[in-house]
């Protein structure tokens, strides 16, 4: 199915999620149209707090036109977007006119794709599909996500997203709960990774966190070796303590020098496809 037909086909179904929201695995069931709010606190409207043509993403994606949406289903203490990520009222409304105009401008700047980021774009799938429907010659879509979405959410993105950029943040549920306040993290994220790897181009990204090499990074690498040994891995070693990172002792400082190289060698020694 082409992008032109996939978006309208999924749009009506996407809007039903707003009446009983189960886009993410909180499965709050909020009637967002009636004003009810779940943990993400998002309503029916998506808001863009930033957009830019980015050249620092993975090399195969740049230049990439990033659209940052406010509102998120996680509460990562170290989030670099800080308050913008967690308050879905921040930014300007995502409308067809704005998006269409912005995409045209981004294309003129050399952008080769449109990338949805957050916050977490999954909670805004209905608004995103609606905005994209109004664009002629839509570039390939990149979806940067925490991968905490439901199967229904990924159904809505089928044939729409060209590349998934998955943040595999934590290697165990305890760290995920303590740092990002979510439960059942590993089962949900790994389920979604396995599904998407079969359907689409996938890059698994991991932000190395200080003090979480053994508990998070190594289990992630080991899981990838066993389940997705050929997937592309993007290791990010530029962690900086932001937002509320200081409330967690080990996250209050930058990643120690050398940890990035150590992590890279660990993954490459196990045969994983680590991107530059």
């Amino acid at each position: 199915m082409s992008l032109v037909t996939a978006i309208p086909a999924n749009l009506e179904l996407a809007h039903t999620q707003l009446l009983h929201c189960e886009l993410c695995e909180h499965r709050c069931g909020a009637n967002r149209v009636a004003g009810e709010r779940g943990p993400c606190k998002a309503g029916t409207e998506a808001r863009v707090f930033r957009h830019r043509v980015e050249c620092g993403e993975e090399a195969e994606l740049v230049p990439s036109h990033l659209f940052y949406l406010s509102g998120c289903d996680l509460r990562c203490a170290f989030c670099i977007a800080e308050a913008n990520a967690f308050d879905p009222s921040r930014g300007r409304p995502l409308t067809r006119d704005f998006f269409s105009s912005a995409v045209a401008w981004g294309r003129d700047q050399g952008a080769r794709n449109v990338q949805w980021v957050g916050g977490e774009p999954t909670i805004h799938i209905p608004a995103i599909l609606d905005a994209m429907q109004g664009v002629k010659n839509l570039p390939p879509i990149v979806w940067k996500s925490d991968f905490y979405g439901t199967p229904a959410a990924f159904d809505l993105l089928k044939d729409v997203v060209s590349v998934y950029l998955a943040d595999f943040k934590f290697g165990n549920d305890e760290c995920a709960n303590r740092i990002a306040r979510v439960t059942d993290y590993v089962r949900i994220v790994t389920r979604n990774l396995k599904r998407v790897a079969l359907e689409s181009d996938l890059i698994v990204r991991h932000l190395l966190l200080p003090g979480h090499y053994e508990c998070c990074y190594q289990p992630i690498v080991n899981w990838l070796c066993n389940e997705l040994p050929y997937v592309k891995i993007s290791l990010r070693d530029g962690y900086m303590p932001r937002w509320q990172a200081a409330r967690l002792t080990e996250l209050a400082t930058p990643l120690p020098r050398g940890d990035g190289d150590r992590a890279r060698h660990y993954a490459m020694e196990r045969g994983l496809n680590v991107l530059e």
Partner: protein
């Protein structure tokens, strides 16, 4: 960034903004790398292969705005 007639009425277009952090141990962290910053850092020859990979990818993409033509943003060796 200069205004031009193609600029949509948008808020927070931060394409021209790059946040660079210099850590005490000499590492440089980038957040939000513009095309020009990637080019500049490549010219500094810092020995980071990931920068070169991004630079090559960016150079290969067609750029039709005035940024590509302006020498004001170029860094000379």
């Amino acid at each position: 960034m200069s205004s031009n007639e193609h600029q949509p009425d948008v808020a927070d277009d931060e394409t021209a903004v790059t946040e660079i952090s210099f850590l005490p141990d000499g590492r440089i962290c980038l957040f939000g790398a513009s095309r020009e910053i990637v080019e500049l850092l490549c010219q500094l020859n810092l020995g980071d292969p990931s920068l070169l990979a991004r630079h090559l990818s960016v150079q290969s993409s067609a750029k039709q705005s005035h940024y590509a033509e302006s020498n004001e943003n170029r860094v000379t060796k």
